[in-house]
């Protein structure tokens, strides 16, 4: 079916979320919708799926105007959503989860006709190449498969227009490729697909048309055959951005972080890091690439003192830190940008000033003999806000009220507010938009050039390739290979991330 949105406007108190947005998606085509966080993508999709009502504007399906009173109305009209966060009951099996709310019944009492539902699910998965075991429990399925279940769920409800909201955020590169295959076969069968993302490569790869949103408006459209990543990025941000932050060749000096045959256990006491050797030198950026869950988290926690080494050697600037506490590690001059900033890096209910001193509050000039010097705290925090261009009404604003990019800037500003010997940054740009990514990368390179040793953990290949002087790929708790930044490509990294080994790897 052909979908058209005409002049959709939606206003929230103080924010114009959608400002006269008009888009069209044709039958059997994939429309890629690009936009930074806060550009209005999610609001638009919530309007399309019946969660919000537009203040003005029309939704037309096959030329006929539709008004959705609620999400059920949207589903009836053939619009199916696959949300970023899956809406599946974990203890159900696939058949139950898919049929929930749209059950076929087989008698007057209303007994669930499981056989019929199962048959239809099997048909759908065969038709579109959605490989799913209909009898598997949802909670036992990997993320990529759960997403397929969500897609089947939408198709099961006869959706001819399928909206995918940031579908690749949770997927490995391989799973993303499979998803693109599925999207193509859906489009080929006549489904209209709207693909929302902030990743430039993905729209270029899978979309037939591209529409870019910025600050609630359509900033422009592009043809994926001719558009470049740079053009799209500029459209998204509204200025010239650098997708790859310029940096000179690394000038590695002394080894700062030395890890030898390290073993680390995870929370369930299973071995997560299984014999890692790694050196990071002053003046270089080493990136640990790899699919989430291959021991990177535990390795970072071991380096930063949040976890103890089970066995092995770890030194930072010559000091043994195998059993050190977070504070001992931090006192050596280690900055830590944590993977989960909402949980570890920031306290949402504390102000920016308080968050700014979160791990140095006990030192001068912030405090002396356990008593704060509030003037010094406020001055330094205000300086940090200025230096790092943190967009906030004041330093007394709660950290939780900031956008993701600005929150991450608070963390980075704090970590770089003291001299840095070693910086450990886990997923430093996860969930951030292009402009913020550029900014964070720039700061990391700056620290490198100032002589710090930088260790970044990332699952985003774009990031890995953009900033890494050396790239170590982690698979199943081990380093499966170390590449020079110049030699790394999507292909050889992808192979290593999947478990291929380069004959024991090139020891660093």
């Amino acid at each position: 079916m052909r979908l058209e949105l005409r002049d959709i406007t939606k206003r929230f108190p103080g924010v114009l979320a959608n400002d006269r947005i008009s888009i069209q998606a044709d039958r059997g085509k994939v429309l890629g919708m690009l936009g930074e966080n806060g550009a209005g993508k999610t609001t638009l999709m919530n309007i399309l799926s019946g969660l919000y009502k537009p203040d003005s504007g029309q939704i037309l399906i096959d030329g006929e105007e539709k008004v959705f009173a609620d999400p059920v109305g949207a589903i009836r009209a053939g619009v199916g959503m696959v949300h970023q966060h899956f809406m599946l009951v974990p203890v159900f099996d696939v058949v139950e989860a898919v049929a929930l709310g749209a059950e076929t019944v087989k008698n007057a009492i209303g007994t669930f006709d499981r056989a019929a539902a199962r048959k239809r699910i099997v048909e759908l998965s065969e038709q579109y190449g959605l490989d799913v075991d209909p009898d598997a429990k949802i909670e036992s399925l990997p993320v990529g498969v759960r997403q397929r279940v969500e897609i089947i769920k939408a198709l099961y409800r006869h959706s001819d227009i399928l909206v995918l909201d940031e579908p690749s955020a949770v997927l490995t590169p391989l799973e993303t490729e499979e998803l693109f295959g599925i999207i193509r076969s859906l489009a080929a069968a006549g489904t209209t697909v709207i693909f929302i993302t902030h990743k430039l490569n993905e729209v270029l790869e899978v979309a037939d048309d591209i529409v870019v949103l910025r600050r609630g408006r359509v900033a422009g459209t592009a043809d994926p055959k001719t558009a470049t990543r740079q053009q799209l990025a500029n459209l998204m941000v509204g200025r010239d951005v650098e997708l790859i932050v310029p940096k000179g060749p690394a000038k590695p000096k002394d080894v700062v972080l030395h890890i030898e045959n390290a073993f680390v256990r995870d929370d369930r006491l299973e071995m997560a890091v299984k014999g890692v050797d790694l050196d990071v030198r002053a003046g270089e950026i080493v990136v640990i690439a790899g699919v989430q869950g291959n021991g990177q988290t535990e390795l970072v926690e071991a380096i930063t003192g949040l976890r103890s080494l089970d066995s092995g050697v770890m030194t930072i600037a010559g000091h043994h830190t195998e059993k050190s506490s977070p504070r001992q590690v931090s006192d050596l001059g280690v900055a830590h940008i944590p993977e989960d900033r909402g949980r570890d890096g920031l306290i949402n209910y504390m102000t920016i000033a308080e968050n700014y001193i979160l791990d140095s509050y006990h030192k001068q000039p912030y405090s002396k003999n356990g008593i704060f010097n509030l003037k010094a705290v406020r001055e330094r925090a205000a300086q940090g806000v200025k230096d790092f261009d943190i967009r906030t009404p004041s330093i007394d604003t709660y950290a939780g009220a900031l956008s993701g990019g600005n929150q991450q800037k608070v963390v980075v500003a704090r970590e770089f507010s003291v001299p840095v010997l070693l910086c450990v940054a886990a997923q430093p740009t996860r969930g951030l938009d292009v402009g913020s990514i550029e900014y964070i990368h720039r700061r990391l390179v700056e620290q490198r050039d100032a002589g710090a040793a930088i260790l970044i953990v990332s699952t985003e290949l774009d990031e890995v390739l953009a900033v890494g002087d050396r790239i170590a790929v982690m698979f199943d708790g081990k380093i499966s290979g170390i590449l020079d930044g110049d030699d790394a490509t999507y292909e050889n990294l992808g192979l290593l991330m999947g478990g291929a080994s380069f004959g024991g790897g090139v020891a660093a």
């Binding site: 806060g38 977070p326 504390m350 008593i371």
Partner: protein, 432 residues
Amino acid sequence: MNAVRNTLRRAAIPTLAVITALLVGAIVIILTDFESLSKIGQDPVRALLSVDNVDGKTIFGGAIGGVINAYSALLTGAFGDPERFKAALASGTPKDWATALRPITETLVAAMPYIFCGLAVAISFRAGMFNIGGNGQVLLGALAATMVVIGLNGKVPSPVLLVLGILGGAAAGGFWGFIPGFLKARTGAHEVITTIMMNYIAALVVFFSLQGTNNWLRNPGSTSPISRPMGPMTDVPNILDLPNTRLDYGFVVAILMAVAVSWLLFRTTKGFELRASGFAPFAARYAGMSAGGSMMLAMALSGGLAGMAGAFIVIGTVGQLSLDIHGNVGFNAIALALLAGLRPSGVVMAALLFGALTNGGKLMGVQSGIPFDLLSFIMALVIMFVAAPGLIRGIWRIRQPRAVGPVTAPPASPPAATPPPAAPPTEPAAAS
């Protein structure tokens, strides 16, 4: 200027909650005025229009008048009668002054333990610990103070005896609070369970220590388990030198403690650690803080404040240890601290409110025949409205503040196994 505005904004919801609760209380007074109700039911028109009352009001007006009587008695009972003040000004005798001032001094006397215990709860909640053990800590503080005063009576001068008694009470309460903190930090035992259980233990310890005939603590002249009166040994000096007033320097100490707690929480690194561990245990660990240390410190301080309340009640206000000396202040203080938004200044204000309601309610009961239970009802409504700020905003049509924190601090952490979810900001779109 901004500070003033922020304070007013923070006070808006609690203030409106109190007003709303009083209005609902008024409706309940009318609805339970069965005499007038039955007349209104029999003949609504006559009830509205005709005057057949002795005081020249319609029956409907009489029901409303009942509310006015009740609330004015509440006010008079809590703050004093203007007529008495006039009389005192005219005569100037200490006796008349005492009569005029007694209601307000009694309100402050009632508020004193609420301040201590409200601070105790606030400090523990700020650190992510639910101290439900206030009653037990008050009791044990009172017991320790009694033992010190009776045991050392005659051996040290009276002022020293007094100070030792208060410190002894604080130490005992602190120890009683420290135990659950220690258990949580070392073993993960949940403090809600341990503090509740320790309330029972404390009650039984006090009961046991007041048993037996040859007991040095027990009042020999009494059949019930109460201690010897401490009055002749030592007393907390009174602020006003007037006959029959009980307001003593315990109240001043309570205010000083509010200042001290505020300073500790917001001006010291220990307070920063307490708050950080309470809001976000993971972030506190990431920042190199010791969560266990914060738990133990917060619980010890919390218990110490409650124990100090017990000491001041038993030495100053009551003068004699008994099993019900805590007056359930430990539990009531939980609601009070939430009403106060866990701020020390708010605790003082809320304690004054609770003191006024408790004290004024007595006169209201005597004068208008409305049972004291109505006051418990109103207090419960206040808490409920504070806990549901959306309801108050809806009733009074006030807009949600933008990019400002919650009226009450976020709830302290649930059981150790599940970390508290990252509380979402009230308005996510503040800055981008």
